[in-house]
Symmetry: C2
Subunit: 327 residues, 2 copies
Amino acid sequence: MADVARRARVSVTTVSHVLNETRFVAPDTREAVLTAVRETGYVPNTVARSLVMSKTDTIGLALSSISNPYFGELAHYLQAEAERYGYSILIGDTRDDPEREFKVARDLHERRADGIILAASPDPGRTLEYLRMRQVPVVLVDRLIGSDLDEVGTENVEATSHLVEHLASRGHTRIAMVSGLAGLATTLERVAGYRLGLERAELPYDDALLRGGSSDAEPARGATAQLLEMPDPPTALIVANNKMTIGAMRALRDAGLSVPADIALVAFDDFAWADLCEPRLTTIAQPHQELAAKALELITSRIDDPDQPARRIRLDPTLVHRNSCGC
Amino acid sequence: MADVARRARVSVTTVSHVLNETRFVAPDTREAVLTAVRETGYVPNTVARSLVMSKTDTIGLALSSISNPYFGELAHYLQAEAERYGYSILIGDTRDDPEREFKVARDLHERRADGIILAASPDPGRTLEYLRMRQVPVVLVDRLIGSDLDEVGTENVEATSHLVEHLASRGHTRIAMVSGLAGLATTLERVAGYRLGLERAELPYDDALLRGGSSDAEPARGATAQLLEMPDPPTALIVANNKMTIGAMRALRDAGLSVPADIALVAFDDFAWADLCEPRLTTIAQPHQELAAKALELITSRIDDPDQPARRIRLDPTLVHRNSCGC
DNA sequence: GGACCTCAGCCAATCGATTTCTGGGCCTCG
DNA sequence: CGAGGCCCAGAAATCGATTGGCTGAGGTCC
């Protein structure tokens, strides 16, 4: 910038004012500055700018791995929305591990992200404590813990309950579920919804029909296999996320079962290939784009006004009816 | 930091030296500083640090949308590898649009990313020119243009050629291809490989059997549908990326064709659901993790020594043999 | 002709670190 | 006893911007 100023025979002050249009500058001077900028190929240094403005126009994302299509999609929309507000995105991968989550959050804060969008791990206490102490603007996504923070996520309890009721109304009485990583807010809610649905359908809750799949394919495959080995196996299966669906389907295939003839299958998280599987999968689609839009609305407004009351937003997922549920 | 210094009754100099272990500090003083740090909950300001060190420990990613599983996976591994080197990741979405690509690159540079990993758009000239002028360390991934820049990507020509030869050896004479976005380096290479394979198998090249699918599902669906409507339709189909595979499969389904009985299908990009489709898809799997590892090796070494000669790395993809090819 | 404005642009402080230079206190040694 | 060395730590310059306050030139008004 000093270089530009010298070249245009003005002070850095003037250059700054021209570039930011923050004060009137005489047309001639202005032109001289602009020319000098062009000639030198000057690129503003955002780092210096951030230092004095004490804002980086950056939002940190602390999500579980973006190789998971759900989070990948979410990250994509978050990035797109952030861009609309003039923010860039710094990503961090928590791997759903509280320890890593803490490190990611700290790093994001050290880099002075203006705000952090966090999909909380199963045990986010320390991270949240850290962020709260430093008054970092935070919005929780996907996994909502009902704290005093802004939160936006999918409605899980009723959605899962409806699913169970629906299956029950189709005559199923042995409805199993492969649930996600223990402790995760979404896991708790979906399990709660599962039990609520059974209750409403006046079906007994059988502990053996609820198995943990750790939110990943292989564990889910094992869990599903065990369900199928029961003396009185389920006739319907709910899988609580996309990765576990892979495992579940493999287990079903290994057991030589056909869906939905032998067993009905419904899965959380819709994805592009869901209607190309055999059979076409009935899924619960989460509203990625809306979630992202709301998350950015919340974080930007929180950044602008840190003291406003917290907002909690729940968006309804959509049941995408295909063949695997047997309807 | 001034706060910490005051509290520990030392100068900021000393605090800095304690925190960075950059000079010996008497144990007592050291302890005092550390205590003060703990008491104040001090968090170093990386922005200020970056300003004086003129490095941000940040690497910019300019990729096509990470909602594409291929790039999502790649981004994931890039992030993981970056972390090993102590870098964080700033993401930008080019949407394969030269204009957006340029803006993303400029933004990344204005934020002073220490290096940029770029998956070039169909027409990356301006962007590359801009980055070259400013001497920004750059590594090209996936789409290699054979410039004087470091590059790492998958070997496409031979891989595609082998595929064609393989299909030919199984008796196919009408082998079609749905190719990606025009101009993309990967598209050009895969098409070249397609033609090379035909030549080697001594099959005639038929213009009508090569259709563009614009790297996306819907266009690919249309392209596939048109291929199927030919008087003398293909008996084998190669699809040049994951998203287009979705479209192609839909078109096949719409046409009531069964794979591989009526038509053999092979697709670029492996993904978790590929073996859950009906039939299980034969794919060409790209080595995400190795690509990412190499990309980071290149970019870090380029950052450390900007003047070294450029390196170009091609990694071989793996043919994942399942049922859709009819073997 | 002098008081007073307005206009356009410069000076210098500031953000929060890193790092070079400097210097005080205490030992040691000739 | 004085010079030279060590040990520690502080003062101040620096990175590249933003911005409040100031100033000099020129114009207006009475």
